[in-house]
Amino acid sequence: MIFSELYSAYYNAVAWILKAAIDHPLSRGELREMVAKHAFGESVLNIEPALTEERWQLIRSDGTTPIQHPPTMPLTTLQKRWLKAIYLDPRIRLFTDEDTGLDDVEPLFTKEDYLVFDKYSDGDPYEDEEYIANFRLILDAIRNRYPLEISMANRRGRITHRKMLPETLEYSEKDDKFRLIGASSAYGETVNLGRIMKCKRCSEEVPIRLAQRAPFSKETVEFELTDERNALERVLLHFAHFEKEAERIDEKRYLVRLTYNSEDEAEMVIRILSFGPMIRVIGPQRFVDLIKERLNQQKSCGL
């Protein structure tokens, strides 16, 4: 069962509480802190009294516990089956060469059971040994905060070199690609992993001085949505992964505000165009002009 108390935040929080109580008598303050860390906003109102009133007979009144070993639970069959399924995915090699030891476990799903039908076809080469080595080095550099020297081909096929202090790896399911984001000595702050030809730990002993990467700047677009041909659901689901707000104007019209990273503006324009006349952008004027420019160009194509 996927919805089970075995996986619940309460069981998890209590496991952490008991682990601490085995070590030393637990104070109320410590208990509350652990509940806040491992459960939800209001959980302390339930977990603390349940333990202190001895409804859950696991912590004695002096803060000690009869439990003798730090609580652990073996993996359930469901967890093993899911793990087996992801170990059959070639992308697991980006992270590990280890075997699961789950030879006698049936995977929860295989690639025959599901299809991501609309990802782009030029995804990263996850089975390429060079790509895997680069990926692992980058992961290590992010974890341990050291700079890298990267050689890569730019869009025109020219080889460029840069030093980069990696911050994070970003994965796009639509593009099926990883991008490295970090502070760079030159040429921008994002690198497509698939373009990297060579990547090595920076040879300089003292970490190079890299400018602090500026956070992506945010923009907002506001549009009016007309709910015809199920547009309301289609649009709101399509843009669900953005910070957004929707308001009803009347029976058929809605006002939607989306916040996006400015580097994605061209993509936002075409995504909004894909909904045709169901969406009318009303602001900012700069965005309206981008839409008008495209439509004007389309008119000149004679269609």
């Binding site: 069962m1 996927i2 209590v14 030029d122 790896l169 639509k174």
Partner: protein, 414 residues
């Protein structure tokens, strides 16, 4: 019943989460047609679980509650929290930790009576020690055997229990990744909960998180597919606000990473057709008989793939197969447009007519599924043709309507 932060059944909160997350413009009054208390309870629960993402807006119709998540910033799917809220009894949780402490060593193999004796040692230090009867403990042990976390074996003539010994050392970054991108990723999130909290180093773009709410349904469908079983499923028609039951053979899950929807592709014995069902419309899945023709139906579906742009397996015109083609022009320094056609097409062919022009064409069951994608090339489409004439007329009318929306009607646009 008094309010509780935990819940017994996921389906009701599943609806509210979708409403708050996807839509978020309804006022309390619109939700409370059925029950004001139910709305207040669900809202309070979601606020407790997902407080950082809950927002409010005052409108003339009342206070609107909505969930707003920028999934590029949030490194873990926050909706998984809802799956960690299953209710339980005081006895359940007490028994759980005592049993696993007694059976801490996988080599410890104990009968029910031996376990009962040891349990007393745990409870004596409390003012009013709980009394667990044999049947309750036996039931719990058997429940854990069926979950695979305990193993039951005969000790002489009596059944004895020990913990499953499998331990996996799991890479937290791998768990981070697959818990976000693999189906039923919430299971990976459960595994991550066992680790010390760590700061994830992966982020996600174009990341739809709503599928998390359908994890239970998806899990049941995968289970049925692995056993090649027919199922009876209860579905909800949201427009008609009506539930119905269907007997189908589940064949494959189709996942969209461009609109966040998930579909079940299934064979319907009644109509002898393969069609799609949105997983968020499936309320429950009940396994039925083994389907002897499962492999054959799945093969049929696979054979249809070269003519499916999305999930549609039939047209709305009278043609079995519809044709679409369009031509785009681009400048010499815009050769990426041709590459866009190549990498974004899911079927069909792309031809380079000259250095500035490319043509896409496809024969698919339902060309209307391509319209949103074709519109992303607006500003450079020089010709377009659909064999479905009504659709072509609609496409062109929509374009006229778009010109009108921005005051561009009339003239040649220059």
């Amino acid at each position: 019943m008094a309010y509780s932060e935990l819940i017994k059944n996921f389906n009701r909160v599943r609806d509210y989460m979708r409403e708050f997350f996807v839509y978020g413009f309804k006022s309390r009054e619109e939700y409370t047609k059925k029950s004001a208390r139910s709305y207040d309870d669900e809202r309070r629960r979601l606020e407790s679980w997902l407080g950082d993402f809950m927002q409010f807006r005052q409108t003339p119709e009342g206070k609107n509650v909505f969930l707003s998540v920028d999934s590029r910033v949030s490194r873990h799917n926050p909706l998984y929290k809802a799956w960690k809220t299953k209710s339980f009894t005081d006895g359940d949780i007490t028994l759980h930790f005592i049993l696993f402490d007694i059976l801490d060593d996988p080599k410890t193999v104990l009968t029910l009576n031996e376990i009962m004796e040891r349990m007393d040692e745990y409870l004596t230090g409390f003012q009013y020690p709980k009394m667990f009867d044999v049947s309750t403990v036996r039931k719990k042990l058997n429940e854990y055997v069926s979950e695979g976390i305990l193993i039951a074996e005969k000790k002489g003539r009596t059944m004895a229990y020990h913990r499953s010994s499998f331990q996996a050392s799991l890479d937290p970054d791998a768990l981070d990744y697959f818990s976000e991108v693999a189906p039923c990723g919430v299971i990976g999130s459960y595994l991550l909960d066992k680790e010390e909290l760590h700061e994830g180093i992966l982020t996600f773009k174009h990341h739809y998180i709503t599928g998390a709410m359908d994890s239970e349904v998806l899990c049941a469908l995968f289970q049925a597919m692995s056993e090649k079983r027919q199922i009876t499923m209860e579905t909800m028609d949201k427009k008609r606000n009506k539930t119905s039951e269907a007997d189908v053979v589940p064949l494959r899950i189709f996942i969209s990473v461009q609109n966040g929807r998930q579909y079940l592709m299934a064979y319907l014995p009644r109509t002898r057709r393969i069609r799609s069902f949105r997983t968020d419309s499936i309320l429950s899945v009940h396994p039925g008989e083994i389907c002897r023709s499962f492999d054959e139906y799945r093969e049929i579906l696979n054979g249809m793939l070269p003519h499916m742009w999305g999930v549609s397996t039939q047209s709305f015109s009278d043609q079995r197969m519809e044709h679409v083609e369009f031509t785009v022009r681009y400048r010499a320094d815009e050769s990426y447009i041709h590459r866009r056609l190549e990498r974004e097409k899911r079927c069909g062919t792309v031809e380079k007519l000259d250095v500035n022009t490319s043509r896409f064409s496809a024969d698919v069951y339902d060309t209307s599924e391509l319209v949103p994608w074709i519109r992303t090339f607006l500003c450079r489409i020089t010709s377009i043709h659909f064999s479905n004439e009504a659709l072509e007329a609609q496409f062109k009318k929509d374009l006229e309507d778009m010109y009108a929306l921005y005051g561009l009607e009339g003239g040649d646009g220059t």
